[in-house]
C-alpha cells in the first residue's frame, strides 16, 4: 500500500491525543491518589485537543473530493470508517459538556459520568480506526486481530508517555514523582506485541494460482496490459526493499519502545524526550504498517504471493 503521510500522521497523532485524554481523565477521577494541579490538566487537555484535531484534519487531506465528506457519517450500520467519523465528531460535544461542567462546578458524580463517556468514546475511536484496516479481507496482513489491538494499545501507550511528559513539565507543583509504572507497563506490552508481530504473524496467504483459479502449474504474468503506471499500481504497488524494512523496524523498536522505556525507568531525563522519541517511533511503525501491507490485487500484476 502507498504510505500516505496524511493517514500516518492522523493515526499516530489522534491515537496519542486520545490516549493522553484518557489518562488525564483517569487521573482527574483518581484525584485522591494523583496530585494534578488545574494548570497541568488544562495544558494536557489543550495538547490532547490539538493532537486529535490536527489528526482528524490531516485525515481529510487524502480525500479527493472533500466537499462530500459530510456524507461519510451516514453509513454507521455498515462501515467502520463511518463509525469512526461519528464517534470522532461525538467527542467534541462530549468534551465541551465536560469542560462546561468543570467550569460551572458541577457535582463529582456528573463529572465522573462525562469522564467515563469521554473515555469510552476515545477507546471506541481507537478501535474503529483499527477495524477500518482489519476488516479488509483483501489485505491479509491487516485482516487479523493484531490490527485493532495494536491501534488501541499503541494509542494508550503513547498517551501515557505524553501524560508523564505533561505532568513533569511543572515539577515544582507536582512534587516528587514515583516511577511511572502505567507508562512502563504499557510500553512493555507494546514492545512485546510489536516484536511478537514481527517474529510471527499468522495470516492467510494467497497465490497467483488462487487469483486466477488455476490450481495446478506455474502461472506468471506475460503482459500487464498498461504502458505506464495506473491508479492500481500507484495505490497498491508500493515496493519496500527488504534491507530498508529491516532497518526501519529496528528504528521503530528502539525509538518507539526501548528508548522511552529506558527514559521512563530512569526518569531523570528532560520530560519531553520520551514522548518525542515514542511518537517518532510510532510514525515509523505506522509507515511500515502501510508500506508492508500487500493487497491481493498485486497477484494480478505479477506478484506470486501476498
Amino acid at each position: 500500500m502507498k504510505p500516505a503521510f496524511s493517514v500516518i500522521f492522523f493515526t499516530v497523532a489522534s491515537g496519542a491525543g486520545l490516549g493522553l485524554m484518557i489518562w488525564l481523565l483517569v487521573a482527574s477521577m483518581m484525584s485522591a491518589h494523583i496530585r494534578m494541579p488545574q494548570t497541568t490538566f488544562i495544558t494536557g487537555a489543550i495538547v490532547a485537543g490539538l493532537l486529535i484535531t490536527a489528526g482528524l484534519c490531516s485525515s481529510t487531506l487524502h480525500l479527493a473530493n472533500r466537499k462530500n465528506a459530510i456524507y461519510s457519517l451516514t453509513r454507521f450500520k455498515t462501515s467502520w470508517l463511518s463509525r469512526e467519523g461519528v464517534f470522532a465528531l461525538a467527542l467534541y460535544p462530549a468534551a465541551a459538556l465536560h469542560i462546561w461542567l468543570l467550569s460551572s462546578g458541577a457535582s463529582i458524580a456528573m463529572l465522573k459520568l462525562t469522564s467515563i463517556i469521554l473515555i469510552v468514546l476515545a477507546l471506541l475511536i481507537l478501535f474503529c480506526t483499527g477495524m477500518i484496516y482489519a476488516c479488509l479481507k483483501t489485505i491479509p496482513r491487516w485482516n487479523t486481530w493484531h490490527t485493532p489491538t495494536k491501534y488501541v494499545l499503541f494509542g494508550l501507550m503513547s498517551g501515557a508517555v505524553l501524560f508523564i511528559a505533561v505532568l513533569s513539565a511543572r515539577p515544582a507543583e507536582i512534587g516528587a514523582m514515583g516511577r511511572p509504572w502505567v507508562a512502563i507497563f504499557l510500553l512493555l506490552a507494546g514492545l512485546i506485541l510489536y516484536v511478537a508481530y514481527l517474529l510471527n504473524h499468522p495470516r492467510k496467504t494467497y497465490t497467483v494460482n488462487d487469483a486466477l483459479g488455476l490450481k495446478r502449474g506455474n502461472v506468471r504474468l506475460l503482459d500487464v496490459g498498461h504502458a505506464h503506471g495506473t491508479f492500481l499500481t500507484n495505490e497498491f504497488g508500493f515496493q519496500l526493499a527488504r534491507e530498508r524494512a529491516r532497518v526501519l523496524r529496528w528504528i521503530a523498536i528502539v525509538l518507539g519502545f526501548v528508548l522511552p522505556l529506558i527514559l521512563m525507568f530512569f526518569n531523570s531525563m528532560p520530560p519531553f524526550a520520551a514522548a518525542v522519541s515514542c511518537i517518532a517511533g510510532l510514525l515509523v511503525e505506522r509507515w511500515l504498517f502501510f508500506a508492508e501491507a500487500e493487497h491481493v490485487v498485486r497477484l494480478y500484476h505479477g506478484q506470486q504471493r501476498v
Binding site: N65, T78, K137, L212, R220, L222, G225, V296
Partner: protein, 243 residues
C-alpha cells in the same frame, strides 16, 4: 435479476478491443466518463473500467493430451484475462463505503457509484480484490464498470444492441452478457456447461461474472506398439543407417 458477464478464457485473444470500446462508450456517457491523464505524453495513464492482462501457465498436465507436462517439459499455455467489475453478490466495496455513494442495485445487482456522494477516500478500491475501481483524479470520485447501465435499458437502441459495449465489440465472441438468475439464459448455461474459474473464492465475495474455464484436451490412451518381426527388422536397419 443478477446481470453479469461470462468471459471465455479459451477464445479471448487479448486484443484489448473490449477495453477500447469501454473507454469510448464510457468516455462520452452520462456517468461522467473515464479520464485520461497525459494521453499523448511521456507517461500516459488514466482510469479504465476494464483491463486485460496476459498470463502464462506451465506445468499443468491436465492441459496436455497425454498428461505429459513436467517441469522438464513445460507445457506453456497463454491465457488472456480481461478484468472489470464482477458485480459481486457480497460486494464488500459497498459495505465499507462510509458515504453510501457505492451501492448495489436490488433490481439487477449492478454495483454503481453515485458521484454526487462519493468523497474519494479510496476505501472501496482497497476493499476490491479484483482492482475494478479506479479514482477519477480530475473529478475526485471513484469510477468503475457500470455494466453499461446506460445502454442495456435504452429502449431507443435495437434489441440486439442493448448489451455492454465490451460484449458488442469482442471480435471473437469471448464475452457474453445475461441474467444469472435465469437458469435458461445464455450465460447461466455457459457457466454451467464450462465451469467457472474460482478467482479468490476464499474471500467470499461471490463474483457474479463468470470466467469460463479453459477446455481440457481429450485424454488419448496410448495404443501399445505392435512389435512384429518386420518392425524389429526395420528398427535394426534404422539403427544401422544412423551408425
Amino acid at each position: 435479476m443478477k446481470l453479469g458477464l461470462a468471459i471465455d478464457l479459451d477464445t479471448c485473444v487479448g486484443c484489448h478491443a473490449c477495453a477500447v470500446a469501454c473507454k469510448q462508450w464510457n468516455g462520452e456517457s452520462l456517468m461522467g466518463g473515464a479520464p485520461d491523464y497525459d494521453p499523448y505524453g511521456r507517461a500516459p495513464s488514466g482510469a479504465w473500467y476494464n483491463r486485460i492482462r496476459q498470463y502464462e501457465l506451465e506445468g499443468d498436465p491436465s492441459f496436455s493430451p497425454h498428461g505429459c507436462a513436467t517441469t522438464h517439459q513445460p507445457l506453456s499455455k497463454t491465457i488472456n484475462v480481461p478484468m472489470s467489475c464482477m458485480h459481486c453478490e457480497e460486494a464488500h466495496c459497498v459495505t465499507v463505503c462510509p458515504t453510501g455513494a457505492s451501492y448495489k442495485r436490488a433490481e439487477d445487482g449492478i454495483v454503481l457509484v453515485d458521484p454526487d456522494r462519493c468523497m474519494g477516500c479510496n476505501y472501496c478500491a482497497w476493499a476490491c480484490p479484483y482492482g475494478a475501481r479506479e479514482l477519477d483524479e480530475n473529478k475526485g470520485v471513484m469510477k468503475k464498470c457500470t455494466l453499461c447501465v446506460d445502454r442495456i435499458y435504452d429502449q431507443q437502441l435495437p434489441k440486439a444492441e442493448r448489451q455492454p459495449a465490451c460484449v458488442l465489440a469482442c471480435p471473437t465472441h469471448a464475452r457474453h452478457f445475461g441474467d444469472y438468475d435465469d437458469p435458461a439464459s445464455n450465460v447461466s448455461k455457459l457457466a454451467a456447461e464450462r465451469g467457472r474459474q474460482d478467482m479468490l473464492g476464499d474471500l467470499g465475495y461471490k463474483p457474479i461474472n463468470a470466467y469460463l474455464s479453459m477446455r481440457k484436451p481429450v485424454q488419448v490412451d496410448a495404443i501399445p506398439l505392435r512389435q512384429g518381426l518386420s518392425d524389429k527388422a526395420k528398427a535394426f536397419v534404422n539403427r544401422l543407417i544412423q551408425l
